[in-house]
């Protein structure tokens, strides 16, 4: 047993590929409300070996010097960053202690990683590994899935499998709880497994380096009523259903955030099942599929939005200001249909009508559509 950095796996590197290799089985362990990952033994061995290497490196460097090896405050915990290529079957517990550049991190890291006896640390470092690791991205994941049996939407720690939140009705709260579980400074990935997530309010991203990653891009929204297509929301894929007045995903509405990504999700404003009959072409619900107000280094990829007032809306409300500029934004493979505006990138002056301003819908204003 080794002692090292952040607990509950929140500080450990966990690539999306790893997560995707896992199969998730939501189980209830005598009311303990735990979720387990099932992984292959092969992948486990590789991954755990990597963790062991990291743990040895970090432990030796942190323990052997009073000064943080990279200049951080003494005792500051390092975000674990491994190069694991497989999945791990491990048990992590403790209190998250992400490294804070401003020196506010506590030193009470008590995470434990259990490794099998045959895990071998087969690498020795002649570098200053802790410094190298400090600069590496701290990818942390949360997995959100829809339990077909119970109907619950559940968010679990992508490393430990600990349940972060679960609800039969409030997918928004569950997903937001998953985002909130990510380290505030270093962020991570929230993986939304295939399924239809009915949102009652917006998914909100107000911290840096958060990726919302779905599966299968939500299907093909062109031919929702085609007999050969079972309907947008019913295809395999991650679909967010945002009713009128709700932006499915809001980004930087309260603070300026960086390093955000939304990938492989479908978003619809239509609450009913298209198979019941294709609505008229002018049917959409107020609000945006993605609403980003103050964000930079932002990526949208593999996203489809159907039947929202704005498919993707970028820009602040109010007079132009240079700190509202979105420069480093990339959009790749965005499909928008049956919306008002598809991709809408504009500041909106106060003189424009409420609907155009968008302040009235979905952001807590009571005068929707006034």
């Amino acid at each position: 047993m080794l002692h090292t950095g952040p607990a509950k796996g929140l500080g450990r590197e966990e690539s999306g590929d790893q997560d995707e290799r896992r199969s998730i089985v939501a189980t209830s362990r005598s009311g303990l409300n735990r979720t387990c990952f099932l992984v292959s033994m092969f992948a486990s061995t590789i991954a755990v070996a990597g963790v062991v290497v990291l743990a040895v490196i970090v432990a030796s460097h942190v323990a052997s010097s009073e000064e943080h090896p990279c200049g951080a405050p003494p005792g500051a915990a390092l975000l674990g960053t491994t190069n694991t290529t497989g999945a791990a079957d491990h048990n992590v517990s403790g209190t998250p202690t992400p490294y804070h550049p401003n020196g506010t991190a506590s030193s009470n890291a008590t995470a434990t990683v259990t490794a099998p006896s045959n895990a071998t640390a087969n690498a020795t470092s002649t570098l200053a590994p802790a410094c190298v690791l400090r600069g590496a991205p701290a990818v942390v994941s949360v997995v959100v899935f829809l339990d077909q049996a119970s109907g619950n939407v559940t968010a679990v720690d992508g490393t430990s499998g600990d349940v972060l939140a679960s609800s039969p009705t409030n997918a928004s709260a569950v997903i937001n709880a998953g985002i909130s579980a990510l380290p505030r400074d270093s962020g991570g990935t929230v993986i939304l497994r295939s399924g239809v997530y009915n949102l009652s309010h917006s998914i909100q991203i107000e911290r840096h380096s958060v990726e919302i990653r779905g599966e299968n891009g939500g299907g093909d929204s062109f031919f929702t009523a085609d007999a050969g297509y079972p309907g947008f929301r019913n295809k395999m894929g991650t679909v967010l259903v945002a009713p009128s007045g709700v932006d499915a995903i809001q980004i930087g509405m309260r603070s300026f955030v960086f390093g955000i990504a939304v990938t492989n999700v479908g978003i619809t404003g239509l609450e009913s099942d298209e198979r019941a009959g294709l609505p008229a072409d002018d049917v959409w619900s107020a609000g945006s599929g993605i609403r980003a107000q103050r964000v930079d280094t932002f990526r949208i990829e593999g996203v489809q939005v159907v039947r929202k007032e704005f498919g993707v809306r970028l820009g602040p409300v109010g007079p132009f200001a240079y700190d509202n500029v979105m420069d480093v934004v990339t959009v790749r493979t965005l499909m928008v249909s049956y919306c008002g505006f598809g991709l809408f990138a504009s500041y909106v002056s106060a003189a424009m009508p409420p609907r155009a301003r968008g302040m009235s819908c979905g952001v807590g204003c009571a005068s929707c559509d006034a």
Partner: protein, 294 residues
């Protein structure tokens, strides 16, 4: 801002509305397919233009590989297929910026309005663009016609050029296909322009195959001592003095684009090629002119 791979279908007011003030420094947009977008212009929020692609820029904007087909069912769109806003200086609450726009490899069809509308003060260069259809069908088999102007520039001082590609409007008067365009070269369906019945625009002081504004009528002959700068295409110009001829004949002067003298006090011009950017001044009243655009 980088956009690659944008697909739109039946978005009521448009697929892309790009303000000049969001990520205003430069945008690169590559790979856009728009079908039946901006079909419901009647419901667009006040202050916005319904159009499949609304492109405003403060500085640089490069747009390439775009297909816009605005047909919804069998109904042509009632909006411009592209609206370009360059360096527009507006009223309070409006936008104020300047920029350059490049449109490359654009195919746009199916509207009862204009294919491209331009406003502002800046530069718009279009290369390898196709607007309209030789027949009544677009690539989807529907009505691909452009019923109004191919390009209509509202200015006040935007330099618009179109090089290579294809254009066809259903307007009978070919001089109405392009409004306020500075250069038209190698555009099939347009070049060579051929005989231009009313190429002299005295208020704007232009000799042009296209109207300078939608409302200013051209004239078939020059007004004496008015400098006409050749716009749009190179011209083959013949100028004849009235009969009886005054002393010195038509008294034609041709100047280069920077004011250098090419020809002075010519009694007449016989099928002289006058390049775009050159200026022609006729000294005598009541001359007659025959002008062909290349």
């Amino acid at each position: 801002m980088r956009i690659r791979g944008l697909f739109g279908y039946l978005n009521q007011w448009g697929l892309l509305h790009k303000s000049g003030t969001i990520g205003q420094y430069d945008w690169v947009i590559d790979g856009v397919t728009s079908q039946a977008d901006a079909w419901n212009a009647a419901s667009v929020p006040s202050g916005f233009q319904a159009t499949p692609l609304y492109l405003a820029t403060a500085q640089e904007l490069v747009v390439s590989n775009v297909v816009v087909e605005a047909l919804k069912g069998s109904t042509l769109a009632a909006v411009p297929l592209l609206q370009v806003v360059v360096s527009r200086a507006g009223t309070p609450g409006d936008e104020w910026y300047r920029g350059h726009v490049l449109l490359r490899h654009v195919s746009a069809f199916s509207t009862a309005a204009d294919a491209v509308r331009v406003v502002g003060t800046g530069v718009l260069d279009m290369t390898d663009c196709q607007f309209g259809s030789t027949g009544s069908q677009a690539f989807t088999g529907g009505d691909g016609r452009i019923m109004n102007h191919i390009v209509r520039s509202y200015g006040p001082d935007v330099a618009v050029s179109m090089t290579r590609g294809f254009a066809r409007s259903e307007l009978v008067d070919h001089q109405l296909w392009f409004i306020g365009v500075e250069s038209l070269r190698h555009v099939r369906g347009v070049n060579p322009v051929g005989a231009i019945a009313t190429p002299f625009y005295s208020a704007a002081q232009r000799l042009s195959p296209a109207k300078v504004t939608a409302t200013e009528p051209g004239a078939s002959a020059p007004i004496a001592l008015t400098p006409y700068t050749v716009y749009g295409t190179d011209m083959i110009v013949s100028i004849s003095p009235p009969n009886p001829s005054p002393t010195g004949g038509a008294n034609v002067t041709v100047l280069g684009p920077h004011g250098h003298t090419v020809l002075v006090a010519a009694a007449r011009l016989e099928a002289m090629t006058v390049r775009a950017g050159f200026t022609l001044v006729v000294g005598a009243e009541n001359c007659t002119a025959v002008v062909f655009g290349l």
